[in-house]
Symmetry: C2
Subunit: 414 residues, 2 copies
Amino acid sequence: MQLLPGFRDFYPEDCSLRNYTLSIWREVAARYGFLEYDGPALEPVELYKKKSGGELVGQLFDFVDKGERHVALRPEMTPTLARMVAARERDFKKPLKWFCAPTFFRYEKQQRGRLREFIQLNCDILGDASPAADAELLALVIDVLRGFGLGPQDFVVRLSDRDAWMQFALGKGVPQERVLEFLGLVDKLERTSEAESVRKLADFGIELGAVRAFIANPSLETTKLQGILADLAARGLSDFVQVDLTIVRGLAYYTGLVFEVFDRGGKERALAGGGRYDGLLELMSDGKVKMPALGFGMGDVVLANMLDEIPAAKAMRDAWLAKRRPAEIYVIIADDTRRTEALGLIQTLRNAGLRTDYSLASTKVGKQFQAAETLGAEFAVVVGAEWPSVKVKTLATREERLLPVEGLAAALRA
Amino acid sequence: MQLLPGFRDFYPEDCSLRNYTLSIWREVAARYGFLEYDGPALEPVELYKKKSGGELVGQLFDFVDKGERHVALRPEMTPTLARMVAARERDFKKPLKWFCAPTFFRYEKQQRGRLREFIQLNCDILGDASPAADAELLALVIDVLRGFGLGPQDFVVRLSDRDAWMQFALGKGVPQERVLEFLGLVDKLERTSEAESVRKLADFGIELGAVRAFIANPSLETTKLQGILADLAARGLSDFVQVDLTIVRGLAYYTGLVFEVFDRGGKERALAGGGRYDGLLELMSDGKVKMPALGFGMGDVVLANMLDEIPAAKAMRDAWLAKRRPAEIYVIIADDTRRTEALGLIQTLRNAGLRTDYSLASTKVGKQFQAAETLGAEFAVVVGAEWPSVKVKTLATREERLLPVEGLAAALRA
């Protein structure tokens, strides 16, 4: 009996690491006033086919269910979000600032940083078309990574503008219906040989030199990027961003701002990516709901790889984990005729909200102390001859006190 | 574009309710020293076919993936847990106390309390065969429900013992290989007509009267239930439990203790159910790992229906939700020439961990105050002519103060 390839078991130590990621994601998103939502893990396959793009459609876990519906495990959140918001658009004040951190499924080739099941933070702002919204979302992606102890020496957000590329293409005479195809070329420029790029661009009547010149010296005054950069500067976040027109993003639904976040070391895949998708709600609602929108996704896999390699981030994570040891208090039953009283005491401590453990089986006192140490308990509470008092040992200092059972929870908290 | 039947969208208000459930589950499980784990949502279908039973196999969302693997969305956790523990059995001290709260998928007929995608708390103790472990798990299921503000007037745990039934059956001459079939009859007794029960029991040479007499007057001294009840009494939890031999549980892998939790009103399906499955790890590991085990599952759907109907539980939930309003602080930009300074201040407040929101667009001060009220903010911070001081309004009391920007986060926390 084996795990499927690309899927993970989360033993308790792995699950703690995942909970750490989720906890920072949720905390920072909440600081920005983002509200959590979620959708189903299974959707009709048409939801993903409806928006053009196609890249993810080839990676779907899709099948026909027992009710003859063609369904798919969700590979991304944006179509679900667009469906949900379009359905109840009038119920919410604009702009909406929503986030979620669900599980996604993609049938991908196995490689470092890519799994078939992963969690991903998704943050979106809907109903605001201004650079102020762009900057708010970028500030959030930066602060989420800062929340893990990462700094400007560790990662950079590369900003680009699809509108600027569209204007470039149209200005060079690329016909409207081939602009997406041209953007696809630009997206792959860094991974394509010079000869092949020259040949493919020639088909559009464009020289590689012109493309490179545009990348090297983008005329920012014609884009919204300038306003976004000024807003981020006001927040003191300029060190985290860099204009880079080589970023285009693969998905067809992006308009305007697009961005990707990379580790400065350049060793990992993108930590996060996103952009504007101002036309998607209209497409998803068959024209009924028009709403500008933008968002980003940040997966857990590349992020976890990176945290492993940055000492400051690792130290922060370890401190978080250390605070969550399995038991605060371990009750040691030194005299088994007192088991009934011990169980009552354990119940009282737990009722008071204290994480309390004990040995289910009668066993030697030494073994029970050992278990207390293994679990990282702060106090061992020894139930024995002193009842209705108990010996309380602070395990870190070996200090021992005799305390009455009455009011013990409060005394241990103090 | 519609949701699939039996699946749910979680708009922010729904997601908060789900997070409330998850939060109580996690908090109480941690109080008992249980560690969180998780597994993949997709498993090879054989994992669910390997253990006999069959009930869930007919409800699988199963399909053949792009790599020709026959896979299924998980309908329950126990097979995954058994696989995980069997694979790394030597790495862990016994007993293991583990919990998880993942999403499950079952293709069920739609009815109240049943959905096709739901979350379920699963708590298991592995490696201890004693009634002390049974009692610890039962105390946990009771305290989880108490954690939601439910009391002995609201729910009851009905305990039964499959071993007692097996002894009964064998004593009446039922052959070993037909005992499971006999247990199936007992499980359905309450939902079967008397005539049919009489007829079916006759096939085993057993009279309905004998079965009823056994249920009415179980000889507890021959079972482990007595020890379990004594342990729960020591914890002061007797009011929450009741022996009821009509409980047998559908799944074939149960041995010994089985139990189900019901609302006292009898209006809902079972809130939770579980029992011992001492033979399952051996079965799943092809005989390599023998480990006694028991566990329970508690779904979110029936629980949420019940919380809606118990005023004390509802009040507790509402208090939890009220503490988590979307923003603590709303920054009002009264003078738009100060937007740069305002953004810097917002960043400082968020860096300090305060949930801070503001209007992305320039808009009238009155509208900004309205937004602050809508979000339930505690303070409105007005950035205007007084810079580098700001007016701080406590929204509940209308009280206003002038505070310097320097050290504002600390002043607002105090």
